[in-house]
Symmetry: C2
Subunit: 418 residues, 2 copies
């Protein structure tokens, strides 16, 4: 009950602050972001000291080296946070933009205006920089934010959040428009997920387990940032050199992210000639290959890809390969086994490129390019709060615009309905 | 278990059909809609016979006259369904529209394409015409649909759906793209709400109780069509005649709908002069007035408005009235007690009109016009599947565009990420 009251109070304050923040000017919001950047630099010593405690505790509790690496802060990483803040400042404030305006025969002028969503709950893991990223994007788009970071980074997150909150207060934004949950009890998350009276949306960022917990327990709408089981399909008419480069990039350049390649599909008519080419490139980067029975006739000695492989996000230097009969089989495979994230075709056929584009049911569908481009920055949308795997509201890289909703505005001069 | 298997099977077939329907041409979808209209006319005898049985059963079970009136079909109402179908045919198909396209420095061309959401579940009550309206909008926007109507209209709904399904089959659309749940067990709804593997969204249309059940039990994203507690605020500078006409229209023209007026707010500086004017007009339509203490000093003898009144959707000739200190108090009242549906200000002040527009957190915000215009047709958006009170994805009248989502399409020529 004590935790419930604590969380409800935070959520209520978040809503209240959001109502005020919604109509604040871009100039004021940008000043707050500027001040955040300044204060992060000034107080980096404090941040690093708190972070050291987190890292020590994490080492003691036996967290993996990869996880510890994500947790560690240093001057360079703080500089990156400040750079991120500057980028958010430079983005156009979407709030108040009237997207469309039209006139009705009765003289009413009707428009759609972008407005903040309201109060946003962010639940995230590990990387403390998310505290700054998420908070700054919410503030810029006029939303208040309730942050809940992972327990392993609790001291770093609190130190960062307190600096942001200081900047908020000094710049005249509503005091509670950024708040952090500073207890690590799991129950706090559960209670947070039931604050549908106060929070308008929950954005979970983290592993599969976290996403599942949130989706199953939330009574608040959730915008998921789920896993990516991404595909490249090499069509019969593909340029081998291009296909090879795209596959290598999508698999190897950064295997631990959601837009990295996990399953390669190859048209049966070219499999015999193409698979050895790409296997050779990939072996140079020590990628472990797993194949269907057809693939294993061509690439002798590789592991067998089992049913479970087609739905697995390896996040590692592992690639499953399947030979398919044609474009239809490739599209069916992607739509059935994939995670509807990012998928690419390599082809010289105009017709097949267009069919792939239309029929693959994914957030981002590529012709002749690496799936690794699915990213707000790469798409030219600016900083992103994540990559949504929802179909509703936001799909794909989720930037400032996706942190807003619309309202209809209607200018009349006395019209009544007949 | 039997019901669960039945529902799951329907949902699975719905998803499959949706995948195929997504890439079908507008021409084919329109042909199916044409055929639906033709068949509804041809088979009106059958529909009316089944409807008679529903009406007889409803009378026997003691349903209110208002409910029975909504249930009754006749040739005129069937003609209206056909007219509705023609209207949907005339609307532009949103599927495949590329909203935006831009080029990146690396040569990638990136666009956002409208695509169907997928498989949609509709849960509705009473009026059988929703069967035709909802199904036709889903089909036109490339979505398959699983219908679940109220038990009191089960025979009418099945008769209508079977005719639509015949038309679907004859026009070559995927056979199961329209389905109806033909059992009336409440458990069927509960099972339907758990089909998150197959259904992409649930749209409930009906009373508060229905909406609540759906929101609390669904693991599928819900687009609510909730109640409307709509306000008119008469500002100090309002034109009395205009304000009076807007209030009368918003309250009286059709009191039983969600965009009708429920609470009137009046600026204290004009309350004494204005309230008698509007009370006189409203008394002509036998509107029952309830007021705050200030109101009751001016309009003697009217009922007291209690706390509960400010959040009540009367859907009847009842109006609650409150005198407010200023614009701020009006906005606070609306944002606190209202349902964020449709709210209007009547004013001559430019500044107040703009503040009201920005600060009232509702789906539709009006200056000097009746709230009754919140409607897809009145806004010029074409037929609507309802008026969403969600903030995410769709807000306000929900037409064909809101039945679609986007995907990013990326044209490359071998780009890889550096």
């Amino acid at each position: 009950m004590k935790i419930e009251a604590y969380i409800q109070n935070k959520a209520e304050l978040c809503r209240e602050a959001g109502m005020k923040l919604a109509s604040m000017q871009s100039r004021v919001k940008n000043q707050a972001l500027e001040l955040m950047s300044k204060k992060l630099k000034e107080k980096s010593g404090l941040i690093l000291a708190e972070n050291k405690k987190d890292v020590a505790a994490a080492k003691k509790s036996g967290l993996s080296n990869a996880m510890i690496d994500r947790l560690i802060l240093n001057e360079k990483r703080i500089d990156e946070m400040c750079k991120g803040l500057k980028e958010v400042i430079s983005l156009t404030d979407p709030v108040g933009e009237v997207i469309k305006m039209w006139k009705r025969p009765n003289g009413l002028t009707i428009g759609r205006m972008r407005v903040p969503i309201g109060a946003i709950g962010i639940i995230y893991e590990s990387r403390p920089n998310v505290t700054v990223e998420a908070a700054s994007l919410c503030i810029k788009s006029g939303n208040s934010v309730l942050l809940r970071g992972g327990s392993e980074a609790i001291r770093s997150n609190i130190a960062l959040a307190n600096i942001l909150i200081e900047a908020v207060k000094e710049s005249g934004l509503p005091e509670t428009c950024i708040q952090i949950i500073d207890i690590t009890d799991r129950e706090a998350v559960m209670k947070m997920l039931k604050q549908d009276k106060y929070l308008d949306v929950i954005i979970p960022r983290g592993g599969e387990e976290l996403i599942k917990t949130v989706v199953e327990n939330s009574t608040i709408p959730v915008i998921k940032h789920d896993k990516g089981v991404c595909h490249v399909f090499v069509d019969e008419s593909a340029d081998f050199d291009m296909a090879d480069k795209i596959i290598f990039n999508a698999k190897v350049q950064r295997p631990g992210v959601c837009n990295a390649l996990e399953t390669l599909l190859v048209h049966e008519k070219i499999a015999k000639r193409f698979l050895p080419v790409t296997a050779k490139s990939l072996s140079g980067a020590k990628v472990v290959l797993k194949g269907c029975s057809e693939t294993r006739k061509i690439l002798k000695g590789i592991e067998e890809a089992k049913e479970i492989d087609w739905t697995t996000e390896y996040l590692d230097l592992i690639l499953s390969i399947r030979v398919v009969k044609d474009l239809d089989e490739a599209i069916d495979h992607i739509n059935f086994y994939g995670s509807h994230h990012s998928d690419a075709i390599v082809t010289s056929s105009y017709e097949n490129s267009q069919r792939f584009l239309r029929e693959v049911d994914s957030a981002a569908v590529y012709i002749n390019a690496s799936t690794r481009f699915t990213d707000g920055g790469q798409f030219g949308l600016g900083a992103e709060i994540g990559i949504s795997t929802n179909k509703l509201h936001a799909r794909g890289p989720m930037g400032l615009e996706e942190l807003t909703t619309n309202k209809f505005i209607i200018y009349g001069n006395g019209q009544v309905r007949e």
